[in-house]
């Protein structure tokens, strides 16, 4: 919840032009989240038996899991200042993830109609290695910028059994995977965070600056921004 509040605060600051575009990188304690449509039939057991809280959020997308071993990235970007359309932004996020996992030797692809990043090269095959759920709005309520919230979740070394208690993102016939499951290597989250930030910089054409140094541990938000 703290992260959610932090995002909204930052989004408002961004819309008011008080801070530059920012990328938050963090790790959550175990939680299931849904978009506005709720979990509905995508819960495979009762809410009480899940083992982690179930929270409705204001992002797009269906039910998913966040927890230790998963890298969460929340870019807080003013789309209007960046001259990006909403769709280009989502596609760029997917591209960022694909470049990041490529560094670990994983090929991946995106599929029309199924937001997220899937392993392998063939549409209709492969497992989901990263989920994407984005919100766009004008948090300052003024004629200012359109600012993004939420973003993506990349499975690094997360315990995949958490996903067996739900139908992730409402997609019943595909599985979920992680960098560790695909490669047998368990990279440190901080290292993957650095990778992702670099890829983000490359895809979005930005210079990334770390005000506090790259995350040295989990649950630390690191801020990156553009000097352009």
């Amino acid at each position: 919840m703290e992260a959610w509040d932090l995002q909204r605060e930052l989004a408002r600051n961004r819309a008011l032009g008080e801070i530059p575009d920012t990328l938050l990188l963090l790790e959550h304690p175990p939680v299931y989240t849904t978009g506005r449509r709720g979990a509905g039939s995508n819960l495979l057991m009762t809410e009480g038996a899940l083992g982690a809280p179930l929270i409705e959020t204001d992002r797009g997308g269906d039910i998913t899991f966040h927890g230790p071993g998963q890298l969460i990235a929340y870019p807080i970007i003013d789309l209007r200042a960046a001259r990006l359309s909403v769709v280009s932004y989502v596609r760029s996020l997917e591209e960022t993830v694909m470049r990041t996992v490529r560094e670990f030797g994983i090929t991946s692809h995106t599929e029309c109609g199924l937001t997220g990043v899937w392993t392998g090269e063939t549409d209709g095959k492969g497992d989901k290695i990263a989920a994407i759920g984005v919100r766009v709005g004008k948090p300052a309520g003024s004629s200012g910028g359109w600012v993004t919230c939420h973003g993506l979740a990349l499975n690094v070394d997360v315990d995949l059994t958490w996903f067996e208690r739900i139908v992730p993102c409402g997609i019943a016939d595909r599985s979920v995977t992680s960098i560790a499951a695909e490669t047998g290597v368990k990279p440190e989250l901080a290292g993957v965070a650095g990778q992702l930030a670099s890829s983000f910089g490359a895809v979005f054409g930005r210079e990334m600056i770390w005000p506090c140094g790259p995350a040295s541990g989990t649950s630390e938000t690191t801020r990156t921004s553009t000097t352009c």
């Binding site: 204001d58 001259r83 989502v90 600056i209």
Partner: protein, 423 residues
Amino acid sequence: MAYTLTMPEVGETVTEGTIEKWLKQPGDKIEKYEPIVEINTDKVNVELPSPVSGTVKEHLVKEGDTVLIGAALATIDEVAGEKPADIAPPKPTEASAALAPAPAPPKETISATTKTAGNGRDDGANRATPRVRKLASELGVDLALVTGTGPRGRIVEEDVRAFAESGSKTGAATAVAQKPAATPHPPAKAGADEEAVALTPIRKTIARRMTESAAVPVAWLVIECDVTGLVALRSARKAAFEERHGIGLTYLPFAAHAVSQALLDHPYLNATWAEDKIILKKRVNLSIAVATERGLMVPVIHDADRLSVTGLALAMTELGERTRDNKLKIEDVEGGTFTLDNTGAFGSILSQPIINTGQSAIITVEAITKRARVVGDNAVGVRSVVNMCLSFDHRVMDGHQAGAFLQDVKRRMEAYGPDSGLD
């Protein structure tokens, strides 16, 4: 009078969206730009603001409904006299459509996909009348990027105004208006015995800033300083300094000290051109050019005038390390008022530095060399000399102020001797 809220265009390939949640119910008061409904498209939740103020009258669609672009969503009894705002999320432009190149080996030439001219033409000038071109130049709009809505793609006044408003404000605020792109040719492709190197973000930034600086009318002055005393001073103190502070003692902190002190007496060198005025900066924030393998970076020592030679040496070493380790903070690269560049490190004896964006001057310290010079009335001796080269913005000052500043710096550089204090 009821205003009808319709579904705006959300993205170039998106034709419909689903109503996620009504944030305002019939009977609720609403302010212009206050969020009224959440719409889900392609896994993105867009929070739509109301274009008008008033009272929500009726929902024409309910949560869970899928609606097409342009469909009526709700009616609002609007407050009279207000012009409805444009509430569509940002639309893609030519530049952004090319943002995410297809997955490919990293060596792909990204440079070819950025900033291609709108409508695939070379520059916009041949699509606009002289009056429109003049307007574009006044608003700082690059015609090559504007999509024309006139007949056969001609750019009309409205296109230029809309473009200027829509976000030509990307990038750090600079006092100089954007110069229209000077390249009429599409970028070259690498040939058979050539290699294309993709542009890193830092390279693109440097290129853009240097291009902006190229629009500044620059004049250049050089002065030679006899630093035989400084060389002796450093030789004498080097070992003890290193022992005490754990870092080497170079000539740069001495130059930085001379420059920072001199700036206090020559304010026009520590200023910026602001179109209709000159802004004199009260603080002396010295930008130091640092070469890294990623490219040139220019971190800032704030209030450099308050530091001694020792303090400057420590600050420079610390900043240099953090720069090379990619650990700079925002504050480290902001607020610089004057730049010092140690071109002497390359062995250079004369160079023409480019003024940093937003500043009015930049000085280099060239290599210190031993030369034969006239000493006394008519004897010749071996002296250590160093050139310091100053580029300055001739809109802000004339040779008079620039020269006076250089004289001051020279005097200080030549005053260093074996008895000078470092702290």
